[in-house]
Symmetry: C2
Subunit: 371 residues, 2 copies
């Protein structure tokens, strides 16, 4: 399998938490890393320069969405995703497994692949491991994901077991079909909320020697203690020297709990989605800018934040923009929220370097009690 294009170095460890660096053909990013989501080849409301200014060094795009619109042929003809969207740093594409899962009951899964109806044109399409590898090869991201069967929740043991079998078989076919040496293919562990199935999934994938491993099918409705039990069941099993990516996660609290368990990579739409509904994230807690209490508030969203929004605008102005439905509101809030996420990740890395991550983790939950 062509995987030499990705290097992962671990520089510090504090408990199971670790600080490292992933190097790709389009540059490196420090881990633990947060990847903003650019579903349609754009991080919503932001330019690539602004995304970089938040401290982001890798972003995620959705292969499913780009397959539907504008199509992989077009992106390939335009020189690939980096060129198309003017982001010259690392990109990861997910495989569409999760999006196809989200389309239930518009999808039908068999051993060979998935037939589904598009959320855009209502047409019928089919994904197989081979077609998805072609799709991700055409898009040209630095890190691409295996096509997996994302196990729903709640689910029977029998379903989850079959899902692991399918995902393992598809992983082998993805490895065989993957055709570009400048892209690193990551495996995805499934297994629902059954620790032994999670282990079986990991043990199926490890012999394939992926350059990185994702944990999929979590945070889809199960209790958090189940989530972390699944991650725990894998943390001694997944190869220590490979990056670990917990897909679709999450909040600052989730990052702490996951980083403490050795997770290195995250992606989530929370910061941009919350931004567009006026929810601003700060070290002091969440502000809902549409509330009347911010009407006269001359302060920036966060006095210590280095982002463009906090350097130039008052809460009162931002609230006014939200009240008036102005696009600039979404822009400024997105820049702030992603900056906050990256600052939070930077803090996690620093605490690990200092050997104080565990205390930071505990103090955070003392200040922000679990619900």
């Amino acid at each position: 399998m062509p995987s030499s294009c990705l290097q992962f170095e671990i520089f510090h460890q504090s408990g199971r938490a670790r600080v490292g660096r992933v190097t790709t053909p389009h540059g490196a990013f420090d881990t633990p890393a947060f990847m903003p989501v650019g579903t349609n080849a754009t991080v919503k409301a932001m330019t690539p320069e602004e995304v970089a200014e938040t401290g982001s060094r890798i972003l995620l795009c959705n292969a499913y969405h780009l397959f539907m619109r504008p199509g992989q042929d077009l992106v390939a003809r335009m020189g690939g995703l980096h060129e198309f969207m003017n982001w010259r740093r690392p990109i990861l594409t997910d495989s569409g497994g999760f999006q196809v899962y989200s389309l239930a009951p518009l999808r039908k899964i068999d051993e060979d692949g998935v037939t589904f109806r598009s959320h855009i044109d209502g047409g019928e399409y089919r994904f197989t491991p081979e077609s998805v590898m072609k799709l991700e090869n055409d898009l040209g991201a630095d890190i691409i994901m295996c096509f997996d069967e994302c196990t729903p929740y709640p689910v029977t043991r029998e379903y989850a077991e079959r899902s692991v079998q399918i995902t393992s078989g598809w992983a082998r076919r993805c490895v065989a079909a993957h055709a570009r040496e400048d892209q690193a293919l990551f495996g995805i562990v499934q297994g629902g909320v059954f620790p032994d199935l999670r282990e079986r999934s990991a043990l199926d994938l490890i012999p394939l020697d992926f350059p990185g491993y994702a944990i999929g099918g979590l945070m889809i409705g199960e209790d958090k203690d189940l989530t972390w039990r699944m991650v725990d069941s894998l943390s001694g099993l997944l190869p220590r020297e490979k990056p670990r990516y917990l897909m679709g996660v999450g909040t600052p609290e989730d990052f702490l709990d996951a980083v403490a368990r050795g997770v290195d990579m995250f992606d989530c739409v929370i910061p941009t989605r919350m931004a567009r509904t006026s929810h601003l994230l700060t070290w002091g807690g969440r502000l809902t800018l549409k509330q009347a209490q911010y009407r006269d508030d001359e302060r920036p969203v966060d006095e210590n934040c280095p982002c463009y929004c906090c350097r130039h605008y008052s809460r009162a102005y931002l609230r006014h923009l939200f009240q008036a439905g102005e696009i600039l509101a979404s822009r400024l809030a997105s820049q702030h929220n992603i900056t906050f996420y990256q600052q939070f990740m930077g803090r996690c890395r620093e605490e690990i370097r200092q050997g104080t991550f565990d205390a930071f983790h505990r103090q955070w939950f003392a200040d922000h009690p679990r619900p």
Copy 2:
């Protein structure tokens, strides 16, 4: 009247067209000038830095909208419009006369002022010349406009005559009520489509010695030849040494026809509004990016355009963003369209300097026939 804060110099003249510079307490702008519209204290989808990058040196905000939301008290407490919206260059506020006119039949005009229902909260409000001067003084723009009665079209001569009388009386009250020496108050000529009423309106205002004169109540449905006849009727009458502002205009063709008649200032929502619906303006004509013909188009919108959009993105990418409903589409297109408008204005100034404006004007209409 406190008007010494505004200087206008004329450097070149070519026929009646002229190149000059208006200097305000927040800096200068070259004329003929196009002012992008920032209705709610934001040029839609753009940051102030991006607006400046288009070459814009003055923008317009709507006193009516800011009165309704967020309110003049708040803006004043936040240090005025410049500080509130982070635009440190010149600003012009219109008086709300046109917006109140647009609210018909929700408004009732009497000699003293206008009572109207808000388009936002449905509440009843009243504007008088004195209350509008207080409003514009509170907002703190460099150039503020008299409260006028914008004559509808079509309209009877009797209505237009009364409208001139009201507007002239209100202008005198605005001069008396205007209370800030760092703001220049412009008068607004009304008179519908009746040349003698236009003249009467101008003759009423000229003794008030405004530092600038606007022509209002045009391009609201009348034929263009009527529009230009009205502007012609004023061009020998309005003081040559004062800037002339044709409100709410227009297209590049309109600019040429107006500049040829000695107009110095313009504002219009066309470039930003068209941008948001995928209409991109270029020297070669208008592109509607949503059309399928641009699906595979690797070229920038305009190869010679210096804007951020044209430097970094293909038509294919921009079309994709429009198809996907992404905010970045509106951003890039707005930057491009305003840049085009400013480039066009720059070209007009250059042609006037070279003494070739008349030929440029004629050539443009040879290439872009009037409908």
